[in-house]
Structures are given as structure tokens and as C-alpha cells.
């Protein structure tokens, strides 16, 4: 077969345009709204394109393998089987890599100019996932009749990439096996190595299954060996990711800290936040002082890292964002409970207290849109908020300290929501 004919009759080539359109569409929809200025986020979000490149790679590989099977070419060729298949797969590999490149190029615009560079280990896992699904396509193409293999391949990729991530019968961690969902870490997080490892292990099993189908001359042996390899690899992947929830992100480590002598506050920033240091640090100090002036006991070290230094106050901040709004939102975030009960019986959730405390934090921190939020809460919460804001600063902090522990529990609104008992005249 001539090179031109090989390309023109390749299924992947015909699927290339829809694939690129879908990759661009998805990246425009939510990829480009991810965290800016952090290579890790840009890389993991770009890796999500594997759901399309993987589908095309699998279908292309199945198509080529079923053509080779139909022609019985591998049985009569004097050349290496690997070489014959590699030549047949060239258009598929090029199209899949093109899609991958388009996705990475689009999302690299989020991080251009940021310190460091693309997360090469994530790209490596992404390419391994692509190789794995190509191997799976070869496996199906060589072992099943052509009319069956393509359809099973398409249905299989739907299940592998989409249904595992959506169906309640699949555990939340099952989506990480395909390598298409590596999380959307903020600057304080990195993908959980277990999710990456599980994707790598699963991909290896799928690839080896493809190699079994290619290299073993007996179809029955290839089928048994391939299925065993897939079960072994996917099973191992399941064991690796079982402890994870739906968000495979762990805390990033290695942050640098600077002590600000005059204000006795230590601020730790990631390299991605350094360009904004001059705007961020005064804002952090100002917000820290505003809350401590209200009697809220905050650690003297404010860190952009989640877990270091030990005992510090974690402030989630975003690179290339407005310093005032990102710091204010960060303080509000850490002063609210990090986890709420999954569900509470009716009348057993302190909703009014929750709204009033959040509104007070937003007003104190002067977050963006805090006035609109004040207008959106219930009349009872609004009355409590207005009463709190009339209190002296330290009494406001006391009101927060009394009501804050209730927020993470299933309990009705406490009597302490009404701050009148903290008013100076109530004391006298």
C-alpha cells in the first residue's frame, strides 16, 4: 500500500477534524477558565483531551488491525510484525499526537511566563494512556471480526472515558484509571501520584494486551493472555486509587517564607505568586490585622501552602488575580468551615447562622460583591448581621468565635445568632 493510500484510507484521518473541533470546544468551555499562571493546572487540564484523542487512537488502531487481519498480512509477511503494524498505525499516531498538541498548545497560554515549565511527568502519563488505548484498539482489531471490533471499541471507549466518570455504579476513583481526569489543582496542590500511577499501570496492561494480540500467533492464546493482562493491570490500578475521592490532588510542598519584621507576620508565597508579591503582602498584612483586631486568634505565619510551615494559616491565593480580591476571598474561605455535613434532617442545619457568619466575614474582608450577598440572605440573617456590625470590633470577633463551631454540625440555629447579648449595654 502506498503512503498516500494508507493516509487517505485511515479512519483516524477522517476523524481528525471532529476530534480537533471537540478539543477546542472543551478547552474554550472550561479549560481556559482554570487557574492561570500555574503550569501544573495547565498541563493536567490539557491532559483531559485524552478522552477524544484516545477514542480516535483506539478506533484508528482497531481499524488498521482489522484491515491487517482481513488481509491476513501478518501471516505472510517476511518483515517484522511490529514494523508492519507501526507503518499501518502511523496516521493514527500522528492524528492522536496532533490532538494532544492542540490541547497542550491552547492551555499553555494559561501559564506562559509562569515560573517552571510544563509538568513533564503528567505529559508522560498522558502519552502512556494514549499508547495504552491504542494497544487496546489493536487487541480488539486483531481478535474480533471487523464488523464487531469497531463497534465494541467505540462502546468501550465511551464506557472507559465517560460512563465510569458519571455512573453511580462506578466508584468515584474509577475515572482516574483512564488518565483523563487528573484534577484541577490550585497553585497549592499537585495531582495525587497514586492517580498518575494507576493511569500508568492500566495503560501498561492495555498496551501489553495489544502486543499479545500482535505477537502471539495463536488467537486463543492471545485472547487469554490479553484479557489476563488487562484484568491484572486494571485490578492493580483499582487497588492503587481506591483510597482517593473524586479530586485527586495533594498538597504541594517546598514553599519559601519571608518574615515581615515590622508587622511580625511571616508570609510564605509560591514562585507563581512572586510577581504579585508587592501587592499581595501588604494586603495579607492588612487583612490579618483587620481580623486580629476583632479578637480572632490567627497564626502569625500566613502561607500559600496548605500544610507548611506547620501551624501556619493557609491562604488559597491565585496567581495573576487581583491581589485585593484574592486575599480577601482567601481569608473568608479559611475562616469558614472546610467541610460541611453531607446532609442534615429538616430544620437541623444552622442555615441562618451560616449566612450571617459568611456575610460578616465578607463584609469585614470587603470581598467583591459582599453588598450583593448581604441583599441576598434571609431577613433573619440580615438582622443578625446588621446587629453584629454595630458592635465594637472585639465583640464582633467574640460573636464569630461563639457561632463558628456550630456551622459544621447538624444543629438548629443557636440563640447566639442574635448578638444582642454581646452589646455593651447588655454587659452593664
Amino acid at each position: 500500500m502506498t503512503t498516500k493510500k494508507r493516509w487517505l484510507t485511515s479512519l483516524s484521518l477522517w476523524l481528525a477534524v471532529p476530534m480537533v473541533v471537540l478539543i477546542v470546544s472543551v478547552n474554550l468551555e472550561d479549560g481556559l477558565s482554570s487557574t492561570r499562571g500555574y503550569w501544573m493546572t495547565a498541563t493536567t487540564k490539557a491532559s483531559e483531551a485524552v478522552v477524544f484523542t484516545g477514542m480516535v487512537a483506539a478506533l484508528g488502531a482497531t481499524w488498521e488491525a482489522s484491515r491487517l487481519r482481513r488481509a491476513d498480512l501478518l501471516a505472510i509477511t517476511a518483515r517484522s510484525r511490529l514494523l508492519v503494524v507501526a507503518e499501518a498505525l502511523a496516521p493514527t499516531v500522528v492524528v492522536a499526537l496532533l490532538g494532544t498538541l492542540v490541547s497542550y498548545a491552547m492551555l499553555a497560554t494559561l501559564a506562559l511566563g509562569a515560573p517552571g515549565g510544563p509538568a513533564w511527568h503528567v505529559i508522560g502519563v498522558n502519552l502512556a494512556a494514549l499508547a495504552g488505548i491504542t494497544g487496546w484498539g489493536l487487541f480488539l482489531g486483531f481478535l474480533l471480526p471487523p464488523a464487531l471490533s469497531l463497534t465494541i471499541c467505540l462502546a468501550g471507549t465511551y464506557i472507559w472515558y465517560f460512563v465510569t466518570a458519571a455512573h453511580y455504579q462506578f466508584p468515584l476513583w474509577a475515572r482516574f484509571l483512564s488518565g483523563g481526569f487528573l484534577g484541577d489543582p490550585g497553585v497549592w496542590g499537585v495531582p495525587d501520584p497514586r492517580a498518575l500511577l494507576a493511569a500508568l499501570v492500566s495503560a501498561s496492561g492495555l498496551l501489553v494486551a495489544g502486543l499479545c494480540a500482535l505477537l502471539l500467533r495463536d488467537r486463543g492464546h492471545a485472547l487469554v493472555a490479553g484479557v489476563l493482562m488487562v484484568l491484572l493491570a486494571v485490578g492493580s490500578g483499582c487497588l492503587i486509587v481506591r483510597p482517593l475521592d473524586y479530586h485527586p490532588v495533594v498538597a504541594r510542598t517546598g514553599i519559601a517564607c519571608d518574615r515581615i519584621i515590622e508587622d511580625e507576620i511571616t508570609v510564605c508565597l509560591w514562585p507563581e505568586l512572586e510577581p504579585d508579591r508587592e501587592a499581595l503582602v501588604p494586603e495579607i498584612v492588612r487583612q490579618h490585622q483587620a481580623f486580629t483586631a476583632r479578637g480572632i486568634d490567627l497564626p502569625s505565619t500566613v502561607s500559600a501552602a496548605q500544610e507548611e510551615p506547620e501551624g501556619s494559616l493557609w491562604l488559597p491565593m491565585f496567581p495573576r488575580a487581583d491581589a485585593r480580591s484574592t486575599v480577601a476571598a482567601g481569608f473568608v474561605h479559611v475562616l469558614m468551615p472546610q467541610e460541611l455535613p453531607e446532609s442534615c434532617p429538616n430544620e437541623k442545619f444552622p442555615q441562618h447562622t451560616m449566612d450571617a457568619v459568611l456575610a460578616w466575614l465578607r463584609t469585614t474582608a470587603e470581598t467583591e460583591g459582599h453588598e450583593e450577598y448581604r441583599a441576598s440572605i434571609s431577613a433573619r440573617s440580615a438582622r443578625a448581621l446588621d446587629a453584629v456590625l454595630e458592635l465594637p470590633p472585639e465583640a464582633q470577633g467574640e460573636w464569630y468565635a461563639i457561632n463558628r463551631p456550630v456551622l459544621g454540625t447538624c444543629s438548629p440555629d443557636p440563640d447566639t445568632l442574635d448578638p444582642r447579648h454581646l452589646a455593651p449595654e447588655a454587659d452593664s
Binding site: 464488523a147 467505540l154 462502546a155
Partner: protein
């Protein structure tokens, strides 16, 4: 007849179809997100994917026709094939109606997808190679999803993703099935 039943994989095809329907109806409230060319992702019932996947062995069985023995047989093989397709479609509609009256309206969508899927397969096998024709039902579902403008039509999408009782989409599905049966019975030249 026994030869035809085995050649067309009638029993395995019906078993797979029934299993897929059971899985689809059990997952009636489950949706999966799939990107569209218009931007926002479409949330597609898993049941539709199950209904399409359930046709796999039926279409594969139909693909195993045109052997020399069959082409020279004086049995009404084409009529049997047409009866298999029509019977499968009728069974799907009956099951869909039953599910709908049992409070699972997605059953009607599954039935419509089955009817359209069979029709699209028969039309496609008259035009393209049989292995590509096997892709037609799932390809048709994929095309419906990616062409769904979720922002403009948030509740229901085109054709297979329309509301379960949409008369237009039912008519189109039945028309495609009739067209497909026409291609099958007219011995439309098929490509191997």
C-alpha cells in the same frame, strides 16, 4: 430456519439486547457529560448508550449474510431478516411503552434509539463497508450529542435526544427504519 437462527446470532442478539435494556432501565436516571461543538457539555442518559450497545450482536448477525449459500438459497432469507429487524423494533417499542407506563420515560427514548439504530444500520450497510455500517447506530447517537446546542435548547436535544414523546422524532425514527427495511428487501447492492 435453524441455520438462519444460528447464522444471524438471533438468540445471543436477543440476550444482549435484553441485558442492555435491563442495564439501561436500571440506569434510567444516570447521565454522562459529553462535549458538544457549541460549547457547553450535554448531559446524555446512559440508557441511550445501553440501547445502542444492545444492538451490537443483532447488527453483527445481519452482517453475516451474503454468503454464497445464502445468496443462492430458495428460502425467503431476506424476509426472515426483515422480520427479525421489525420484530426487534416492535419488541423495543413494547418494552419502552411498558417502562414509560411504569414511570420510566427514558424507556421510550431507548425504544426510539433502537428503532432508529436498526434503520440507520440497514441504510448504512447499503452505502459503506459492513464494519463501518456496524458503527452507524453509535455514530448516529454521537452525532446527535455533539450537535446539541445545550444553551439554546436546554431541555431536549435533536432527534434521539428529544423529549420521549416527541412525535416528530418518532416519525423520523420510523421513517429511517422503513427506509432501512426497503434497502434490505430491495437487495440494494451492498458492499463487503
Amino acid at each position: 430456519m435453524r441455520w438462519w437462527l444460528r447464522a444471524r446470532l438471533v438468540l445471543p442478539g436477543l440476550v444482549l439486547l435484553a441485558a442492555a435494556w435491563a442495564a439501561g432501565l436500571a440506569s434510567a436516571d444516570q447521565l454522562f457529560a459529553f462535549p458538544t461543538v457549541f460549547g457547553p457539555r450535554a448531559h446524555v442518559p446512559v440508557a441511550l448508550l445501553a440501547a445502542t450497545a444492545g444492538l451490537l450482536l443483532t447488527t453483527y448477525g445481519l452482517d453475516r449474510s451474503r454468503t454464497p449459500v445464502e445468496l443462492t438459497a430458495n428460502r425467503p432469507v431476506l424476509l426472515w431478516d426483515a422480520a427479525l429487524v421489525a420484530g426487534t423494533a416492535l419488541a423495543a417499542v413494547t418494552a419502552g411503552l411498558t417502562a414509560c407506563f411504569s414511570g420510566i420515560p427514558e424507556g421510550l427514548m431507548m425504544a426510539r434509539t433502537t428503532v432508529a439504530g436498526l434503520g440507520v444500520y440497514l441504510v448504512a450497510r447499503a452505502v459503506v463497508r459492513t464494519d463501518l455500517a456496524g458503527l452507524a447506530p453509535m455514530g448516529m447517537l454521537t452525532a446527535n450529542i455533539v450537535l446539541w446546542d445545550v444553551q439554546a435548547f436546554p431541555v431536549a436535544g435533536p432527534w434521539l435526544l428529544a423529549a420521549p414523546g416527541s412525535a416528530v422524532s418518532w416519525w423520523v425514527s420510523v421513517l429511517v427504519l422503513v427506509l432501512g427495511l426497503g434497502c434490505l428487501l430491495s437487495r440494494f447492492p451492498t458492499r463487503n
